[in-house]
Amino acid sequence: MMKKKKIIWVVVVLVVAGLLFIPFHRFAREHVNYMTATTDHPLKCTSCHLHMADRGPVYDLVNKTYISPYNLAVSPDGSRLYVVGQEANVLLVVDVADGKVIDKIPVGKRPHTVVVTQDGKNAYVSNQWDDNVYHIDLTTLRITDTLPTGNGPAGMVLSKDGKYLYVVDSYSNEVSIFDLITGQEKRRLLAGVNPTGAAISPSGKWIYVTSRRVLPRPYRQPLSTEVTVIDAVHQRVKERKKIRDAYLMENAAFTPQGDLALITLTRPKNLIPSIQVEEGFMMTHGFGVLLPDGRIIQLLTDEPNAYYSNPFDVVISRDGKKAFISSAAVDMIQVIDLDSVRALIARSTPEELQLYANHRGISNRYVIRRIPVGSDPQGMIISPDGKYLYVTEKLDDKVAIINVNTLLKEGQIDLGGPRKITMARKGRRIFNHAGGTFQNQYSCYTCHPDANEDGLIYNMAGVGMGRNVTNTMSLYNIGKTRPYKWNGHNQSVYKQDGYRFSTYLTRTEPFNYDDLDALVAYIITGIHNPPNLRYNPDGELTAAQKRGEKIFFRTHTKDGREIPLKDRCYTCHPPPYFTNRQLEDVGTLAETDDSIPFDTPDLADLFLGAPYMHDGRAATLEEIWTKYGSEDRHGIVSDMTKDELNDMVEFLKSIRDPRYYTRDYSEEYKPLLEHIKIYDPPIVEHKKQH
């Protein structure tokens, strides 16, 4: 009897399960098909529903905090390495002889660079997301002082006499100069756009500061990026060298002789359609040579059918004969023979040197070795005796040791990061690596440095050449702001980065589904915004920002007329992400655009810089209205005075990533916002409402 009952139960369960399985499977298939924009993506629920949590217990369960070593310094006696752990917010002290981490000093948020004084007794660590520099006593390994800086302190350099510290403020585009005797900031100098690296000449007279983003220029005109030349004697900007057609100039180094200064660079051809990727001409990579006579020579490290993308750091051997460049997106250290470079420059005509900037057929004349290293090599340093090159392998949590004479990787220092490689970590490796692009031409990171955007405008050449040029979009908060693309056609990151991505962007085979799962997991969960410390350091708005907030949430014009709901700022840009995720036409279509509405962008990253609008034609926030929005289609602005527009712009610049907010906008503006419809994206196609 019991047995019969059991059999009946089993049968019932099987029948019910069978009956449920079919519709569930069908639903799951439709759902996955819609979200991935394919029909054969494996039905692996955990891909999304476990690995896409961007915070909370599930996030904590499946993710790890890695060290992500970024830049490093070496003690004057060569016995210790000081390694910045960018993600773990630590400074690691490494015993070189033992190859072991002997101390971990907690530092500020998102540490960037460490420099050590000549006597080896003090270190300075720039905390990019805390707007300060820590002074660390290396004899006690304790933090002894905090130096407030400009916004986003990154690269640093000590003056030759050790009395001054130059700190590159990467977000506010400045260089802070600290008097280390008083511990006070003496002055700030204007740098290029998004400056990061700094190097001092052997004489101590000149400091070169490299920038990543391009200088303001007329719309759709060729680009240039600045190397700021600081006269360290007078602490003044002496010159602003414009490096033509190049950007992402991460770092610089001088030869010991001072006859050459090298900068890393990438040369984007963003004014031509992306079809040129297949012609091998969209992104090239190399270095710039800055000569004392003022000449600037650009040389590529790429080859005719192979690219060595995302050059990050450059260091030069003690004898001035070799330069090492970490090519982050191909996991290589490229070794440049500088005597060959000197000879090439000496025997070439100015016309030839200009030609070399685009010539991928000559790198074999000066690139003498390519040394494979671990994932995402970044900062480098040469030991004081000149024998070893240390390289951070950022996404491996290790430091590679390379023999400078044999040019062989002789070892590796394990910094003790988590052993497990999470889905998001794997995705980050894919994001940063150029392997998914035609001949390794670029990685996702190239156009989305720090997962933000590169400030350039591209023609993806989908439907027509020269049509629908688009401003690169930031990836911050991307998990909360679908749909994607300016036309809103992509309902998920899967679709965005799936096979269409390979058609228009990478121009090679699409990512396999395991890699795509990982990539999407990283993009959704692993990208974090910098805090908006320049415009909104503590959540308390300034008087001007408060006035601007009132304008943003206004319902009536100044003369008392009610503003139609569709024309109010908050209707399309409601908090917390300041987008309703809907398509709108705000009168900004260009003649070269298809007649389509645009996906309303979120506003959380406005503070990070220009350009603005779908095609990047607005060089400043003001221009959105003063030049391109005067017909009251992009909000009602015609009744506003100049100071009121200023106030609104100040409010827009104050907007931060919601995870940094302490305010509850939905409660504060409840009567207004409860009527606002934020588009709730469908999860299967037949429910599509949009």
Binding site: G150, R188, L190, R236, A544, T626, E650
Partner: protein, 351 residues
């Protein structure tokens, strides 16, 4: 009247006031881009001149000129200041505020930034802050915060938003406001107060030394604890308590029509339509070009005001200003430069 170029006598009569002579003038014939010069600023070993055809820089005996082709906001350069903090040059033009730094130009306009108006009459750097007096109000740019504030009749005690001059010192900003007298802004309390003409008379000064001589002010300059005010109707000295008023009829001031003023240490320089007047509160020395030759006069008044005992003494000199309509001035221990409606002049300080 003394004989030509008797600098010993002039020096003796001048007391502790600086005396300038051996004037040399520059026009388009010498390399200036235009004869009309609006402003001048000495910056170390070089001199910056704003003309109506661009910026001219005099260095190592040569003029180098910059125009809109180089990135200048407009070729009409009305005001210049150099940041002591950064060495950057800020240029007030008829088409925006241009920052000249490390050889590169960047222009803030009313369309691309929060700047109030593109016509910049005056610019000064106060540490990290830059202030402008414009045709649409005064503007304050905080270079560290990248933030503009506009001050006009709606949020400051101004009669209208037209402002002509701005200066800074001891935690205060003073704005010469057209029709609004002098506006004082306290940078700590962020409060305004205004100084207007107490007698409210446009054509005459009813009570002497009672306040700003006129509500239409053209320049303000602060040094050594003294605020100096220029108007088209006379000038003022304000020590924080007392106002003093000076006219051409009762002092050594050459003319009531003052385009600009600049104070350097204890000495103020007034740019008038009849030449240059200098004053330290005790002694006036004025410089005026002759109408019919390149020589001129040095006029010394040993007292703040003319009285029966205080008279003006005139000295003839061989060289003088390039023109008597003076629009800008700057001076240091060694020399003085003036901008006029017809050329630029350099005067050597007589030791």
């Amino acid at each position: 009247m003394y004989g030509a170029t008797d600098y010993d006598a002039i020096k003796k009569a001048a007391g502790d006031m600086p005396v300038y002579g051996h004037w040399k003038s520059f026009t388009t014939e010498n390399g200036l881009p235009a004869d009309k010069a609006y402003c001048v600023r000495i910056d170390g070993d070089r001199v910056l001149v704003g003309t109506n055809h661009g910026l001219a820089v005099y260095e190592d005996g040569k003029w180098t000129n910059y125009t809109t082709k180089d990135g200048l906001g407009h070729n009409g350069v009305l005001a210049i200041d150099v940041s002591q903090l950064t060495g950057d040059v800020w240029l007030g033009t008829l088409g925006g505020l241009t920052r000249w730094s490390g050889g590169s130009f960047y222009t803030f306009t009313q369309l691309n930034s929060g700047m109030p108006n593109d016509v910049i009459y005056s610019v000064i750097c106060d540490g990290k802050d830059v202030w402008v007096a414009t045709g649409g109000g005064a503007g304050h740019y905080d270079t560290y915060k990248d933030q503009w504030e506009i001050y006009m009749e709606r949020n400051a005690p101004m009669h209208e938003p037209w402002t002509y001059g701005v200066c800074a010192g001891d935690g205060k900003i003073w704005i010469a406001a057209w029709g609004g007298g002098v506006i004082e802004y306290n940078t700590k309390t962020k409060k305004f107060r205004d100084y207007t003409d107490p007698d409210e008379q446009m054509e005459l000064d009813v009570f002497p030394d009672d306040g700003v001589v006129h509500d239409i002010t053209t320049g303000v300059s602060y040094a050594d604890g003294i605020l100096w005010v220029a108007t088209y109707f006379g000038v003022n000295r304000y020590d924080g308590v007392h106002w003093k008023t000076y006219f051409d009829k009762d002092s050594g001031l050459l003319s009531n029509f003052n385009n600009f003023n600049r104070a350097v240490g204890p000495v103020v320089y007034f740019c008038t339509d009849k030449g240059l007047s200098t004053f330290n509160g005790k002694t006036w020395i004025s410089y005026q070009r002759n109408e019919n030759n390149t020589g001129g006069k040095v006029l010394i008044t040993n007292g703040p005001k003319l009285t029966d005992r205080v008279k003006t003494t005139s000295y003839n000199v061989h060289t003088s200003l390039s023109h008597n309509f003076v629009l800008g001035v700057d001076a240091n221990e060694k020399e003085i430069w003036i901008a006029t409606s017809h050329g630029v002049s350099r005067g050597e300080r007589i030791k």
